[in-house]
Symmetry: C2
Subunit: 408 residues, 2 copies
């Protein structure tokens, strides 16, 4: 019989069994998007590296003098010898230009009372205004990014501003995707009216790639137990994660499960009380993680998304592997079977969420995925009311056809 | 003087001037993630392609008979000749297997009253139960994806299930990124204590790549007006979008603006009443879009994110180019200057949003970007109260260190 654990329990059994890798490699920052740092990154230099002007304006030493003689112009990038500046003098200075020693305040051109080529007249201004002080953002030696953080475009900008072009990142697991079902055709093959295309391998590979993982499509599992045992034996030494789809519920030719067992598989669970996606087995052969996902395209995709991706992140050394969620107002009420947990597709737009087709779609319906952009995971509920606030996990939150995203 | 338009006005001037391309190319679905469809996609086949069993169980023609003789077993992928089935007969049938003509109902094994190798005894069951009917999800010829939609992993699964391996997508604009500032060092170059790295080009390139665009880093703009005019003249024939950073406010050597004008630039605006990012110019030379972004790393990144990415999506034929947002409860109150609009960084986690460093960070601070995962665009406000609901645009919503995303 299949296990009857909750979806939450299944999630934690996956996560708790995932031991992060300790292998790392060196990589150029420009190629490192979506990788996870294998080291804390220390600042190599202060930021700003020197005190500089935040505006185009005039720099001076703040005093009682309000009429100041312009003695010099300093552009961004100018290098110059130290010079002395008197209380009744100032320099024209551009945004980003180094502020000379002795100057403590900058006034932007448009705030001056009078501006000529020779002198300016200034109003009262706070000492220190419009100067970005050396090191005020970052001090040399401080931690600017932590081990386990994901490299985003934003972090890569920070690393580059520090002249850091190379970082240590964790080596991600090698992933193999297998299919079951000799009846499946590959999408590039001819299929007659009664043949079905192999969707799962391809959609799971696309999901993995979107999440910064890559995977090899190994093909179809051999059709006898003996050959399958041998096949898995070879794979488990080459891959850190094996993903299969289909053939894991009872009634199907279930020698796949047996072949895993004969290779030393320790299952964490086999079966989840969830709709869709009940026939799912996750376990490990030594350090090799095995995800045996359901054969139904929707079920396998949802479990890959909700259970496998977080686990792969943890295996890859990521510090963050829980899905972030947004609260959204439920747009139209619907009913579910309270004896099961549910992973439910819908559209999240402008703070509202609407279930796909009133939750009347089957586990084979790939179109449900394509028409949705988010997931709600539900337990212990029979009725989800209109107007109720739900925790929504967006997978394609990105863009809308029309959305007033301004707070005004 | 710089224009004083609002951020919203700047956004709409960008969007309204962006004319979508009509150029398309053919591409393999597996390589088409993040591309925009240049055609409606019609279903090539019904889905399901044949009526099939949704469960492992027994199929029969529903009648008064409750004791049924098992005459045959049908596995997924089995092909067979039509055969007749009597009212007191049934077939063992597996999930996904084709349901024979004449059979209208399937009962799962576990719901049978009695199961032997020869016969089963069944309870009352609804006609049509557990059968997925041919075409119930998709009818051959119906539109399954629309022109202008973005190809996601989920859509690619749908296309593959239809045996569609090749699609027409819009050709995205060719983008050139230029820098200003002869003083800048590239991150791989040695820089002394007083030299600054060229962050902007690299961070904007990373932002573009994250959004499915690619760009060429052209390098630094020549240092005279004459050379710059010539340089831009050559570029505008090779690129559909030119992005510059820095050198667009007054006081700087502003020959870049002049060089664009001499090349026929029509500005949509020059200057936005926003903090940070005021010195920003957007316009076009014939069909070539020009984004002249500020020199401050944070300002240029934020305007690239909020103004340029949506515009590039529209230029690329995308149907959706407005940022989707999530409502979030503001975690700690802060003040802003009500005379300007503001693009404000913060962290969006588990339905709450917290401004970065109480909004006391400067426009040069790249660390603000790296430590944040979302943006709030604010207008006409002086105080943002604790507990207030804000529209938040996430740019790295992804994952949290710990987040209870289950609705239970």
């Amino acid at each position: 019989m299949l296990d009857k654990i909750s979806y939450k329990e299944a999630f934690y059994r996956c996560i708790d069994n995932a031991k992060p890798t300790n292998l790392y490699k060196n990589i150029f920052v420009k190629d490192a998007l979506r990788e996870f740092l294998a080291e804390d990154i220390l600042a190599r230099r202060d930021a700003p590296v020197f005190s500089n002007s935040a505006m185009d304006g005039f720099g001076f030493k703040r005093s009682e003098n309000k009429k100041l003689k312009v003695i010099k112009t300093i552009y961004a990038g100018d290098k110059y010898e130290d010079f002395e500046i008197k209380d009744d003098e100032c320099v024209r200075i551009m945004t980003g230009a180094k502020v000379p020693d002795g100057i403590d305040t900058v006034i932007p051109i448009e705030k001056c009372v009078e501006v000529t080529d020779e002198y300016i007249v200034i109003p009262e201004i706070k000492k220190g205004a419009n100067i970005r002080l050396k090191g005020e953002e970052i001090k040399k030696g401080e931690i600017i990014a932590k081990k386990g953080e994901e490299i985003t475009p934003e972090m890569s900008a920070l690393l580059i501003s520090q002249g850091i072009v190379n970082v240590k990142v964790f080596i991600k697991p090698k992933i193999a995707i297998l299919s079951t079902g000799n009846e499946l055709k590959e999408p590039w093959e001819d299929a007659d009216e009664e043949e079905i295309y192999n969707i799962n391998s391809h959609s799971i590979k696309a999901l993995l790639e979107k999440n910064g993982f890559s995977a090899d499509l190994i093909g179809i599992i051999p059709d006898t137990l003996e050959k399958t045992v041998e096949f898995i034996k070879n794979l488990k030494n080459r891959y850190n994660v094996i993903v299969t789809t289909g053939g894991i519920s009872f009634g199907d030719a279930d020698f796949i499960y047996e072949a895993f067992l004969k290779n030393g598989l320790k299952p964490f669970f086999r079966g989840i009380m969830v709709k869709p996606g009940r026939p799912t087995m996750v376990g490990a052969i030594d350090d090799t993680f095995v995800f045996a996902l359901p054969g139904n395209p929707l079920s396998s995709y949802l479990n890959a998304f909700a259970l496998m991706i977080p686990t792969l992140r943890k295996l890859s050394g990521a510090k963050k592997y829980f899905y972030n969620f947004a609260y959204a107002k439920n747009k139209s009420g619907f009913k579910v079977n309270p004896k099961k947990d549910h992973t439910i597709l819908g559209r999240f737009e402008c703070g509202e969420w609407e279930v796909y087709k009133n939750y009347k779609y089957g586990s084979g319906m790939v179109s449900a995925l394509s028409c949705s952009n988010s997931l709600v995971i539900l337990g212990n509920k029979e009725i989800v009311k209109e107007g109720e606030m739900l925790k929504v996990i967006p997978f394609n939150i990105g863009f809308c056809q029309n959305c007033d995203f301004f707070n005004d």
